[in-house]
Symmetry: C2
Subunit: 301 residues, 2 copies
């Protein structure tokens, strides 16, 4: 059987969450293109930001996203932008996520090509971030974006923050864009039968990376007052290395210490098939299993 088609996901964030005419113009290049599928877009008025999800063939996705970035640089004026979410550009972040038959190295390559093209076409300086970062200090998006649009002109003068592509000069209205590559995120919440937020927070601290827990878990506690329970809310940032079942069993184990039970769990947004099948495989003690055995795999090649 021939090697399967490469599939990449891209989740660009644009700094417009209120004017639906403008949002429509930005999203328009991502519609009806051969090899590109617009999965959804969600605008947030408070954030004044829209998060778009597309999926498809790497080249086709890259071309469509570059086009959308061009439109965003025309319709968004960052000197007039207000919103609760931190942001530094009209096209704020453009992460690529390898989905099928594609390595992280290839996703990084695609991010670099995209960044280069954006800077050349629209004179927008580019920072490469996360897995595509060229220096450790640029891996963390929060650090890259620190200073936000208003502080970027100054920040770029620091040789430490010379852009990866383009000149060290912000685009007057479109600012700066971060282009990167990352693993698919799994947003995962576990319900605890306690309304004591302190317990949820403590469990979250134990299992997350920053607290000495699993390498690819980010976690916090959250109250769900209408159900009189709390949740451990997580981002699993690399499910191939920190699996869903591991997060689940870790929370269960820690909850015991407080005499608290796990009630169930919830996946927010999309999840790669493999993340759940690996979980089934763990609980069934499956051996000799590979994703080729999943009937649907043959439908995606």
């Amino acid at each position: 059987m021939a090697a399967g088609k490469k599939i990449v996901q891209c989740v660009p964030n644009f700094s417009e969450g209120r004017d639906f005419d403008k949002i429509d113009k930005i999203v328009s290049p991502l519609r009806g293109k051969e090899g590109v599928k617009l999965l959804n877009y969600e605008a947030d008025k408070d954030y004044n930001r829209v998060v778009v999800t597309v999926i498809g063939e790497p080249k086709a996705v890259k071309n469509a996203v570059v086009e959308a970035v061009g439109v965003a640089s025309e319709v968004i004026d960052m000197t007039k932008h207000e919103g609760q979410h931190s942001r530094m550009g009209a096209s704020d972040v453009v992460p690529f996520i390898p989905i099928k038959n594609m390595t992280m190295t290839e996703a990084i390559e695609l991010a670099k090509e995209t960044g280069k093209e954006i800077s050349e076409k629209y004179n927008i300086p580019i920072f490469l971030y996360e897995k595509a970062a060229t220096k450790p200090a640029r891996e963390n998006l929060a650090k890259v974006r620190k200073g936000q649009f208003e502080g970027m002109a100054e920040k770029l003068k620091d040789p430490e923050w010379k852009p990866d592509f383009g000149e060290a000069k912000i685009h007057p209205t479109a600012g700066v864009t971060a282009v990167g590559a990352r693993m698919p995120l799994v947003a995962y919440n576990i319900d605890l039968d306690t309304d004591n937020i302190e317990i949820a927070n403590r469990i979250a601290r134990t299992i997350r990376h920053s607290g000495g827990g699993y390498r690819f878990i980010k976690a916090g506690g959250v109250e769900i007052p209408e159900r009189r329970i709390t949740q451990v809310t997580m981002n699993l940032t690399d499910y191939t290395k920190t699996a869903i079942y591991r997060a689940f069993e870790a929370v269960k184990m820690e909850a015991k210490r407080y005499g608290v039970n796990v009630l169930g769990s919830e996946i927010v947004g999309l999840v790669p098939m493999e993340a759940l099948i690996d979980t089934a495989s763990y609980y069934l003690g499956l051996y000799g299993f590979s994703m080729d055995k999943v009937l649907e795999t043959s439908l995606m090649e």
Copy 2:
């Protein structure tokens, strides 16, 4: 989002497992057709039979399979056929399995159209079986095939066994074909840490339908002498109603009675994504989950 493309699987069994020239001719119409994907074919010399798996768009799959049945009726002569597997026709059975965006009712309809076309084009009488059966006595393939090729001419004279399509007269060299619709089978084995086959047999009897167990489990015990263990070997004939995790937990529960542990399990052949994701969902206590949340679902539409 528009309704997704319908995907059907078809697993025709042809009565030739030795002559690879003939097998190649039979399989040939299933190759390289728009909307049809040949997943694999496995010939068995002792059975003198080949099992072919194709998947794709219903109409395209139907047309290609009808064509293959035509070739089989030309290259196989059942009057000269020998093999250990029971059989009644050159194209012995043609089951359709709804895979995506397709109901069982639609698969049954497709089986009927296929059966009608085969009988009209090649003068082969057709029995509809399993979910496509027109009488309860025809649901079970073993009953339909009873008497085999050699006894079919006589069997068809019984009004009870009037074919669903075509005249009550076998095709002189191609015999009779059964066309049907069924759920995807999941072939599933569970390892026990005992070499006592009696224990495996007893567990199998308790959990299978015929022994008072789950409705859609067929099961037996089997020895794996090279590993000094035994297995409960199963066919789950409708995983949407008798789930994989249920079979697993049932075997674990019964094994306790004998002080025997479950070592792990194994899926043989292909398994629908949903069967495993449902299992993950059970163990994680997932709520608010639907298959739309699986990223790959959007790649198959």
